[in-house]
Protein backbone atom coordinates (compact mmCIF):
# COMPACT_ATOMS: atom_id res chain seq x y z
CA UNK A 1 0.00 0.00 0.00
CA UNK A 2 1.45 3.32 -0.92
CA UNK A 3 1.65 6.06 1.65
CA UNK A 4 1.92 9.81 1.31
CA UNK A 5 3.25 12.29 3.79
CA UNK A 6 3.06 16.04 3.42
CA UNK A 7 5.50 18.03 5.54
CA UNK A 8 7.27 21.36 5.56
CA UNK A 9 10.69 19.75 5.38
CA UNK A 10 11.87 16.36 4.23
CA UNK A 11 15.30 15.28 5.50
CA UNK A 12 17.05 12.59 3.46
CA UNK A 13 19.64 10.84 5.61
CA UNK A 14 19.09 10.15 9.32
CA UNK A 15 22.63 10.57 10.54
CA UNK A 16 23.45 13.01 13.31
CA UNK A 17 23.23 16.04 11.01
CA UNK A 18 19.90 14.97 9.53
CA UNK A 19 18.28 14.03 12.82
CA UNK A 20 19.66 17.15 14.52
CA UNK A 21 18.14 19.16 11.67
CA UNK A 22 14.80 17.45 12.28
CA UNK A 23 15.00 18.42 15.94
CA UNK A 24 15.86 22.04 15.17
CA UNK A 25 13.20 22.32 12.48
CA UNK A 26 10.55 20.91 14.80
CA UNK A 27 11.59 23.40 17.45
CA UNK A 28 11.12 26.10 14.85
CA UNK A 29 7.57 24.89 14.38
CA UNK A 30 7.92 23.11 11.04
CA UNK A 31 6.59 19.66 10.24
CA UNK A 32 9.38 17.26 9.37
CA UNK A 33 9.96 13.81 7.91
CA UNK A 34 13.31 12.00 8.12
CA UNK A 35 14.08 9.14 5.75
CA UNK A 36 17.00 6.78 6.26
CA UNK A 37 17.98 3.79 4.17
CA UNK A 38 18.88 1.86 7.29
CA UNK A 39 18.61 2.67 10.98
CA UNK A 40 19.16 6.27 12.04
CA UNK A 41 22.70 6.98 13.19
CA UNK A 42 23.96 3.56 12.14
CA UNK A 43 25.98 4.79 9.16
CA UNK A 44 29.05 6.97 9.28
CA UNK A 45 27.58 8.79 12.29
CA UNK A 46 27.60 5.61 14.32
CA UNK A 47 30.73 3.73 13.35
CA UNK A 48 33.33 6.48 13.42
CA UNK A 49 36.21 6.88 15.86
CA UNK A 50 34.22 9.00 18.28
CA UNK A 51 36.51 11.99 18.34
CA UNK A 52 34.96 15.25 19.51
CA UNK A 53 37.85 17.20 18.07
CA UNK A 54 38.45 20.74 16.86
CA UNK A 55 42.23 20.62 16.68
CA UNK A 56 43.63 19.77 13.29
CA UNK A 57 40.51 20.62 11.33
CA UNK A 58 40.60 22.61 8.15
CA UNK A 59 40.51 26.20 9.39
CA UNK A 60 37.30 26.86 7.48
CA UNK A 61 35.61 24.30 9.70
CA UNK A 62 36.67 25.91 12.97
CA UNK A 63 33.74 28.34 13.29
CA UNK A 64 31.36 25.39 12.95
CA UNK A 65 33.43 23.23 15.26
CA UNK A 66 33.63 26.00 17.88
CA UNK A 67 29.88 26.43 17.84
CA UNK A 68 29.25 22.68 17.87
CA UNK A 69 31.60 22.21 20.81
CA UNK A 70 29.39 24.45 22.92
CA UNK A 71 26.41 22.28 22.07
CA UNK A 72 28.28 19.16 23.17
CA UNK A 73 28.47 20.55 26.72
CA UNK A 74 24.74 20.15 27.23
CA UNK A 75 23.97 17.56 24.59
CA UNK A 76 23.53 14.60 26.93
CA UNK A 77 20.89 16.51 28.87
CA UNK A 78 19.17 17.64 25.69
CA UNK A 79 19.08 14.13 24.30
CA UNK A 80 18.41 12.43 27.64
CA UNK A 81 21.13 9.92 26.81
CA UNK A 82 24.55 9.25 28.32
CA UNK A 83 26.83 9.97 25.37
CA UNK A 84 29.99 8.97 27.26
CA UNK A 85 31.23 12.44 26.37
CA UNK A 86 34.61 12.90 28.02
CA UNK A 87 36.52 16.16 27.75
CA UNK A 88 39.82 14.31 27.78
CA UNK A 89 41.60 16.84 25.61
CA UNK A 90 43.07 16.00 22.24
CA UNK A 91 46.80 15.87 21.83
CA UNK A 92 48.46 15.93 18.44
CA UNK A 93 51.96 14.57 18.37
CA UNK A 94 54.92 15.75 16.32
CA UNK A 95 57.48 13.14 15.30
CA UNK A 96 59.87 15.60 13.62
CA UNK A 97 60.86 19.25 13.77
CA UNK A 98 58.87 19.79 10.59
CA UNK A 99 55.82 18.35 12.33
CA UNK A 100 56.43 20.69 15.24
CA UNK A 101 56.62 23.69 12.95
CA UNK A 102 53.35 22.62 11.39
CA UNK A 103 51.70 22.38 14.79
CA UNK A 104 53.00 25.79 15.80
CA UNK A 105 51.67 27.36 12.63
CA UNK A 106 48.32 25.69 13.12
CA UNK A 107 48.13 26.94 16.71
CA UNK A 108 48.73 30.50 15.52
CA UNK A 109 46.06 30.15 12.84
CA UNK A 110 43.55 28.48 15.14
CA UNK A 111 43.88 31.30 17.68
CA UNK A 112 42.30 33.61 15.08
CA UNK A 113 39.22 31.43 15.43
CA UNK A 114 39.28 31.42 19.21
CA UNK A 115 40.73 27.92 19.55
CA UNK A 116 43.55 28.01 22.11
CA UNK A 117 46.09 25.22 21.75
CA UNK A 118 48.93 24.55 24.14
CA UNK A 119 52.31 23.71 22.67
CA UNK A 120 54.15 21.03 24.61
CA UNK A 121 57.86 20.39 24.27
CA UNK A 122 59.41 16.95 24.32
CA UNK A 123 59.99 16.93 28.07
CA UNK A 124 56.50 18.12 28.82
CA UNK A 125 55.01 15.43 26.56
CA UNK A 126 57.12 12.78 28.23
CA UNK A 127 56.10 13.86 31.70
CA UNK A 128 52.45 14.03 30.73
CA UNK A 129 52.43 10.79 28.70
CA UNK A 130 55.33 8.73 29.98
CA UNK A 131 54.25 5.60 28.13
CA UNK A 132 54.71 7.10 24.68
CA UNK A 133 57.52 5.72 22.57
CA UNK A 134 60.63 7.80 22.01
CA UNK A 135 59.64 9.09 18.57
CA UNK A 136 57.74 12.12 19.81
CA UNK A 137 59.49 15.51 19.76
CA UNK A 138 56.56 17.62 20.87
CA UNK A 139 52.83 18.05 20.72
CA UNK A 140 49.95 20.43 20.71
CA UNK A 141 47.13 20.00 23.19
CA UNK A 142 43.55 21.09 22.77
CA UNK A 143 42.22 20.84 26.31
CA UNK A 144 38.56 21.28 25.47
CA UNK A 145 38.42 18.52 22.85
CA UNK A 146 37.39 15.03 23.78
CA UNK A 147 35.55 11.91 22.81
CA UNK A 148 32.12 10.29 22.91
CA UNK A 149 30.35 7.07 21.98
CA UNK A 150 29.23 7.53 18.38
CA UNK A 151 26.83 4.58 18.40
CA UNK A 152 24.37 6.29 20.69
CA UNK A 153 24.39 9.90 19.47
CA UNK A 154 22.52 9.61 16.17
CA UNK A 155 19.82 7.30 17.54
CA UNK A 156 19.30 9.66 20.50
CA UNK A 157 18.81 12.57 18.10
CA UNK A 158 16.34 10.44 16.14
CA UNK A 159 14.39 9.64 19.29
CA UNK A 160 14.29 13.31 20.28
CA UNK A 161 13.07 14.20 16.80
CA UNK A 162 10.31 11.63 17.20
CA UNK A 163 9.36 12.92 20.63
CA UNK A 164 9.10 16.38 19.13
CA UNK A 165 6.73 15.05 16.49
CA UNK A 166 8.93 14.40 13.47
CA UNK A 167 8.05 11.48 11.21
CA UNK A 168 11.22 9.41 11.37
CA UNK A 169 11.08 6.56 8.89
CA UNK A 170 13.90 4.03 8.94
CA UNK A 171 14.77 1.41 6.34
CA UNK A 172 13.40 3.72 3.67
CA UNK A 173 15.79 4.09 0.81
CA UNK A 174 15.14 7.20 -1.26
CA UNK A 175 15.08 6.29 -4.93
CA UNK A 176 14.02 9.59 -6.46
CA UNK A 177 13.45 13.20 -5.56
CA UNK A 178 12.19 15.93 -7.84
CA UNK A 179 11.05 19.48 -7.79
CA UNK A 180 7.27 19.96 -7.94
CA UNK A 181 5.08 23.04 -8.18
CA UNK A 182 4.79 23.36 -4.43
CA UNK A 183 8.21 22.07 -3.50
CA UNK A 184 9.54 18.50 -3.62
CA UNK A 185 8.34 14.95 -4.03
CA UNK A 186 10.62 12.34 -2.50
CA UNK A 187 10.09 8.66 -3.29
CA UNK A 188 11.20 5.95 -0.88
CA UNK A 189 9.70 2.65 -1.98
CA UNK A 190 5.94 2.91 -1.53
CA UNK A 191 6.29 6.08 0.53
CA UNK A 192 6.08 9.50 -1.08
CA UNK A 193 6.95 12.58 0.94
CA UNK A 194 5.84 15.96 -0.35
CA UNK A 195 7.61 18.87 1.19
CA UNK A 196 8.29 22.55 0.78
CA UNK A 197 11.94 22.08 1.79
CA UNK A 198 14.38 19.31 1.10
CA UNK A 199 17.44 18.68 3.27
CA UNK A 200 20.21 16.60 1.74
CA UNK A 201 22.10 14.99 4.61
CA UNK A 202 22.56 11.76 2.71
CA UNK A 203 26.25 11.18 3.43
CA UNK A 204 27.95 9.22 0.67
CA UNK A 205 24.77 9.54 -1.41
CA UNK A 206 24.71 13.32 -1.04
CA UNK A 207 26.41 13.78 -4.39
CA UNK A 208 23.87 11.54 -6.13
CA UNK A 209 20.97 13.41 -4.60
CA UNK A 210 22.51 16.72 -5.63
CA UNK A 211 22.91 15.40 -9.17
CA UNK A 212 19.14 14.87 -9.37
CA UNK A 213 18.93 18.65 -9.21
CA UNK A 214 21.64 19.28 -11.77
CA UNK A 215 24.45 19.91 -9.32
CA UNK A 216 27.92 18.45 -9.31
CA UNK A 217 29.56 17.32 -6.06
CA UNK A 218 32.09 14.53 -6.30
CA UNK A 219 31.68 12.27 -3.25
CA UNK A 220 33.73 9.13 -2.88
CA UNK A 221 33.11 6.43 -0.31
CA UNK A 222 35.50 6.59 2.65
CA UNK A 223 35.87 3.57 4.91
CA UNK A 224 37.98 4.26 8.01
CA UNK A 225 39.32 0.96 9.38
CA UNK A 226 38.89 0.78 13.17
CA UNK A 227 40.03 -1.60 15.86
CA UNK A 228 39.36 -1.96 19.54
CA UNK A 229 41.20 -3.78 22.30
CA UNK A 230 39.84 -5.64 25.26
CA UNK A 231 39.35 -3.44 28.34
CA UNK A 232 42.70 -2.38 29.77
CA UNK A 233 43.62 -0.52 32.94
CA UNK A 234 43.08 3.15 32.24
CA UNK A 235 46.17 4.85 30.86
CA UNK A 236 45.39 6.72 27.62
CA UNK A 237 44.26 9.89 29.33
CA UNK A 238 43.92 11.96 26.14
CA UNK A 239 42.51 11.37 22.71
CA UNK A 240 45.65 11.13 20.60
CA UNK A 241 46.51 11.93 17.01
CA UNK A 242 49.70 12.55 15.09
CA UNK A 243 50.83 14.89 12.35
CA UNK A 244 50.07 13.07 9.15
CA UNK A 245 47.08 11.42 10.76
CA UNK A 246 48.20 7.81 10.34
CA UNK A 247 47.82 6.95 14.03
CA UNK A 248 44.97 7.88 16.31
CA UNK A 249 43.70 6.33 19.48
CA UNK A 250 41.59 6.91 22.53
CA UNK A 251 40.55 4.88 25.54
CA UNK A 252 36.96 4.62 26.63
CA UNK A 253 35.97 5.01 30.25
CA UNK A 254 35.45 1.24 30.31
CA UNK A 255 39.05 0.65 29.31
CA UNK A 256 38.85 -0.34 25.64
CA UNK A 257 41.50 1.32 23.49
CA UNK A 258 40.04 2.31 20.11
CA UNK A 259 42.47 3.02 17.31
CA UNK A 260 42.47 3.56 13.59
CA UNK A 261 44.19 1.50 10.99
CA UNK A 262 44.01 2.75 7.42
CA UNK A 263 41.03 2.16 5.18
CA UNK A 264 38.54 -0.67 4.92
CA UNK A 265 36.51 -1.97 2.01
CA UNK A 266 32.99 -0.87 1.32
CA UNK A 267 30.25 -0.89 -1.25
CA UNK A 268 27.87 1.97 -0.61
CA UNK A 269 25.31 0.61 -3.05
CA UNK A 270 24.68 -2.53 -1.00
CA UNK A 271 25.60 -0.88 2.30
CA UNK A 272 28.28 -3.44 3.08
CA UNK A 273 31.72 -2.80 4.46
CA UNK A 274 34.56 -4.84 5.86
CA UNK A 275 37.79 -4.03 7.63
CA UNK A 276 40.86 -5.13 5.68
CA UNK A 277 43.47 -7.28 7.34
CA UNK A 278 46.55 -5.64 5.89
CA UNK A 279 45.22 -2.27 6.96
CA UNK A 280 44.38 -3.57 10.43
CA UNK A 281 47.79 -5.15 10.93
CA UNK A 282 49.48 -1.99 9.65
CA UNK A 283 47.46 0.14 12.04
CA UNK A 284 48.34 -2.19 14.90
CA UNK A 285 52.05 -1.89 14.12
CA UNK A 286 52.00 1.91 13.78
CA UNK A 287 50.00 2.29 16.98
CA UNK A 288 52.34 -0.07 18.78
CA UNK A 289 55.36 1.94 17.60
CA UNK A 290 53.83 4.99 19.23
CA UNK A 291 52.38 3.23 22.27
CA UNK A 292 54.60 0.30 23.31
CA UNK A 293 52.36 -0.19 26.34
CA UNK A 294 49.90 -1.94 24.03
CA UNK A 295 52.37 -4.78 23.49
CA UNK A 296 50.38 -7.30 25.48
CA UNK A 297 46.90 -6.06 24.57
CA UNK A 298 44.48 -8.09 22.49
CA UNK A 299 42.30 -6.72 19.71
CA UNK A 300 38.76 -8.01 20.13
CA UNK A 301 36.96 -6.42 17.20
CA UNK A 302 37.45 -4.40 14.06
CA UNK A 303 34.97 -2.58 11.89
CA UNK A 304 34.49 0.05 9.27
CA UNK A 305 31.63 2.01 7.78
CA UNK A 306 30.92 4.15 4.77
CA UNK A 307 31.24 7.92 4.84
CA UNK A 308 31.29 10.34 1.92
CA UNK A 309 34.52 12.13 1.12
CA UNK A 310 34.99 15.16 -1.08
CA UNK A 311 38.15 15.94 -3.08
CA UNK A 312 39.05 18.82 -0.75
CA UNK A 313 38.06 16.91 2.39
CA UNK A 314 35.59 19.52 3.59
CA UNK A 315 31.82 19.10 3.48
CA UNK A 316 29.19 20.57 1.25
CA UNK A 317 27.00 22.87 3.33
CA UNK A 318 24.55 25.48 2.14
CA UNK A 319 21.74 26.29 -0.23
CA UNK A 320 21.56 24.55 -3.54
CA UNK A 321 22.93 26.52 -6.46
CA UNK A 322 20.16 25.36 -8.75
CA UNK A 323 17.09 24.66 -6.70
CA UNK A 324 15.34 26.93 -4.24
CA UNK A 325 14.53 25.40 -0.84
CA UNK A 326 17.05 22.60 -1.21
CA UNK A 327 19.73 22.61 1.51
CA UNK A 328 22.86 20.46 1.45
CA UNK A 329 24.90 19.08 4.37
CA UNK A 330 26.97 16.10 3.31
CA UNK A 331 30.47 14.93 2.47
CA UNK A 332 31.93 15.34 5.95
CA UNK A 333 34.87 13.26 4.78
CA UNK A 334 35.35 11.20 7.89
CA UNK A 335 35.25 13.98 10.47
CA UNK A 336 31.60 14.95 10.77
CA UNK A 337 30.90 13.46 14.18
CA UNK A 338 31.89 16.52 16.18
CA UNK A 339 30.07 18.82 13.73
CA UNK A 340 26.82 16.85 13.64
CA UNK A 341 25.01 18.66 16.46
CA UNK A 342 25.64 22.14 15.05
CA UNK A 343 24.59 21.07 11.58
CA UNK A 344 21.03 20.75 12.86
CA UNK A 345 20.99 24.37 13.94
CA UNK A 346 22.67 25.64 10.79
CA UNK A 347 20.33 23.71 8.51
CA UNK A 348 17.33 25.02 10.44
CA UNK A 349 18.66 28.59 10.16
CA UNK A 350 19.12 28.19 6.41
CA UNK A 351 15.56 26.90 6.11
CA UNK A 352 13.77 29.27 8.43
CA UNK A 353 15.85 32.44 7.99
CA UNK A 354 17.58 31.85 4.69
CA UNK A 355 20.99 32.40 6.30
CA UNK A 356 23.20 31.43 9.19
CA UNK A 357 25.49 33.59 11.29
CA UNK A 358 28.20 30.91 10.99
CA UNK A 359 30.42 31.39 7.94
CA UNK A 360 29.76 28.57 5.51
CA UNK A 361 30.85 30.11 2.21
CA UNK A 362 33.84 27.75 1.82
CA UNK A 363 31.47 24.81 1.78
CA UNK A 364 29.28 26.02 -1.09
CA UNK A 365 28.51 23.35 -3.64
CA UNK A 366 29.40 25.78 -6.42
CA UNK A 367 33.07 25.19 -5.70
CA UNK A 368 32.88 21.94 -7.64
CA UNK A 369 31.33 23.56 -10.67
CA UNK A 370 34.55 25.37 -11.56
CA UNK A 371 36.52 23.81 -14.40
CA UNK A 372 39.47 21.71 -13.32
CA UNK A 373 38.50 21.51 -9.70
CA UNK A 374 40.62 18.45 -9.20
CA UNK A 375 43.76 20.50 -9.84
CA UNK A 376 42.88 22.73 -6.91
CA UNK A 377 42.38 19.86 -4.51
CA UNK A 378 43.89 20.70 -1.19
CA UNK A 379 46.79 18.69 0.09
CA UNK A 380 45.56 16.08 2.49
CA UNK A 381 47.19 16.90 5.79
CA UNK A 382 45.04 15.18 8.35
CA UNK A 383 43.25 11.89 7.98
CA UNK A 384 42.31 11.40 11.60
CA UNK A 385 38.61 10.82 12.16
Amino acid sequence: MSEKLAVDACVVGGGIAGCAAAVALRKAGMTVAVLDRGACGAGASGVNFGGVRQQGRNLHELPLARRSRRIWDTLAATLEQDLEFDVSGHIKLARSEADMAELEQYARDAREYGLELQMLGANRVRSEIPWLGDKVVGASLSPEDGQANPRVVGPAFARLARRLGAEVREHRRVTAARRTERGFAVEAGDLTVESAWLVNSAGVFGGTLASWFGEHAPVEPLMPNMLVTEPLPYFVSRSIGVCGGDVYLRQTGRGNVIFGGGRGWGDAEIARSRPLTDQSLGGMQRTLDLVPALTSAQVIRSWTGIDGQTPDRIPVIGHSSTTPQLVHAFGFSGHGFQLGPVMGEIIAELVTQGRTPTPIEPFAIERFAAEGFAAQTAELTHTEH
Binding site: W131, P231, P233, F235, G255, A293, S296
Partner: protein, 102 residues
Amino acid sequence: MTAAPNAPLFHRLVDRSGPTIPFTIDGVPAVAQPGDLLMTAILLNRPALRPFEFADAHRAGFCFMAACQDCWVNLADGRRVRACTTPVENGMAVVIDGGARV
Protein backbone atom coordinates in the same frame (compact mmCIF):
# COMPACT_ATOMS: atom_id res chain seq x y z
CA MET B 1 29.03 -27.73 53.74
CA THR B 2 30.58 -25.15 51.49
CA ALA B 3 34.16 -24.42 50.58
CA ALA B 4 36.28 -21.88 52.43
CA PRO B 5 36.51 -18.56 50.54
CA ASN B 6 40.06 -19.15 49.36
CA ALA B 7 39.86 -22.90 48.83
CA PRO B 8 40.76 -24.08 45.33
CA LEU B 9 37.97 -24.65 42.88
CA PHE B 10 39.21 -27.70 41.02
CA HIS B 11 39.87 -31.08 42.50
CA ARG B 12 42.23 -33.54 40.88
CA LEU B 13 40.59 -36.90 40.29
CA VAL B 14 43.27 -38.55 38.23
CA ASP B 15 46.71 -38.28 39.74
CA ARG B 16 49.65 -38.32 37.43
CA SER B 17 53.08 -39.31 38.53
CA GLY B 18 56.17 -37.63 37.17
CA PRO B 19 57.96 -34.35 37.58
CA THR B 20 56.26 -31.24 38.88
CA ILE B 21 56.20 -27.78 37.30
CA PRO B 22 56.83 -24.89 39.67
CA PHE B 23 55.03 -21.62 39.00
CA THR B 24 53.67 -18.73 41.07
CA ILE B 25 50.32 -17.07 41.65
CA ASP B 26 50.59 -13.50 42.92
CA GLY B 27 54.09 -14.37 44.00
CA VAL B 28 53.06 -17.42 45.98
CA PRO B 29 54.81 -20.62 44.85
CA ALA B 30 52.62 -23.38 43.45
CA VAL B 31 53.20 -26.60 41.56
CA ALA B 32 51.51 -28.12 38.55
CA GLN B 33 51.93 -31.34 36.65
CA PRO B 34 52.99 -31.89 33.05
CA GLY B 35 49.88 -31.76 30.88
CA ASP B 36 48.14 -29.20 33.07
CA LEU B 37 46.67 -26.26 31.26
CA LEU B 38 47.17 -22.96 33.03
CA MET B 39 43.47 -22.85 33.92
CA THR B 40 43.77 -26.19 35.68
CA ALA B 41 47.03 -25.25 37.36
CA ILE B 42 45.55 -22.04 38.79
CA LEU B 43 42.16 -23.41 39.81
CA LEU B 44 43.74 -26.35 41.63
CA ASN B 45 45.24 -23.66 43.88
CA ARG B 46 42.78 -20.79 43.80
CA PRO B 47 39.04 -20.17 43.49
CA ALA B 48 39.33 -17.81 40.49
CA LEU B 49 41.53 -16.77 37.57
CA ARG B 50 41.14 -13.04 37.36
CA PRO B 51 39.26 -10.02 38.61
CA PHE B 52 36.26 -9.01 36.50
CA GLU B 53 36.77 -5.57 34.97
CA PHE B 54 33.33 -4.09 35.52
CA ALA B 55 32.36 -5.13 39.04
CA ASP B 56 33.80 -6.22 42.35
CA ALA B 57 33.92 -9.87 41.34
CA HIS B 58 36.20 -12.57 40.01
CA ARG B 59 35.96 -14.96 37.12
CA ALA B 60 37.14 -18.54 36.81
CA GLY B 61 36.52 -19.26 33.15
CA PHE B 62 33.39 -20.85 31.81
CA CYS B 63 33.54 -22.94 28.64
CA PHE B 64 37.02 -24.51 28.78
CA MET B 65 37.00 -24.72 24.98
CA ALA B 66 38.45 -21.41 23.82
CA ALA B 67 35.06 -19.96 22.94
CA CYS B 68 33.89 -17.76 25.82
CA GLN B 69 37.21 -15.90 26.34
CA ASP B 70 36.46 -15.59 30.05
CA CYS B 71 39.78 -17.02 31.18
CA TRP B 72 42.37 -14.53 29.87
CA VAL B 73 44.90 -14.03 32.64
CA ASN B 74 47.82 -11.72 33.26
CA LEU B 75 51.39 -12.88 33.65
CA ALA B 76 53.96 -10.81 35.50
CA ASP B 77 56.08 -10.49 32.33
CA GLY B 78 53.19 -8.56 30.73
CA ARG B 79 51.83 -11.39 28.63
CA ARG B 80 48.08 -11.99 28.41
CA VAL B 81 47.19 -15.62 27.86
CA ARG B 82 44.02 -17.62 27.55
CA ALA B 83 44.33 -20.04 30.42
CA CYS B 84 42.20 -22.84 28.95
CA THR B 85 44.48 -23.31 25.94
CA THR B 86 47.87 -22.39 27.40
CA PRO B 87 50.00 -25.12 28.95
CA VAL B 88 51.46 -24.13 32.29
CA GLU B 89 55.19 -23.44 32.02
CA ASN B 90 58.01 -23.74 34.45
CA GLY B 91 58.36 -20.42 36.29
CA MET B 92 55.21 -18.81 34.97
CA ALA B 93 54.22 -15.93 37.24
CA VAL B 94 50.47 -15.52 37.26
CA VAL B 95 49.02 -12.23 38.42
CA ILE B 96 45.45 -12.34 39.70
CA ASP B 97 45.14 -9.66 42.36
CA GLY B 98 48.71 -8.49 42.24
CA GLY B 99 47.95 -4.96 41.11
CA ALA B 100 47.25 -3.21 37.85
CA ARG B 101 49.25 -3.87 34.75
CA VAL B 102 50.61 -1.51 32.07
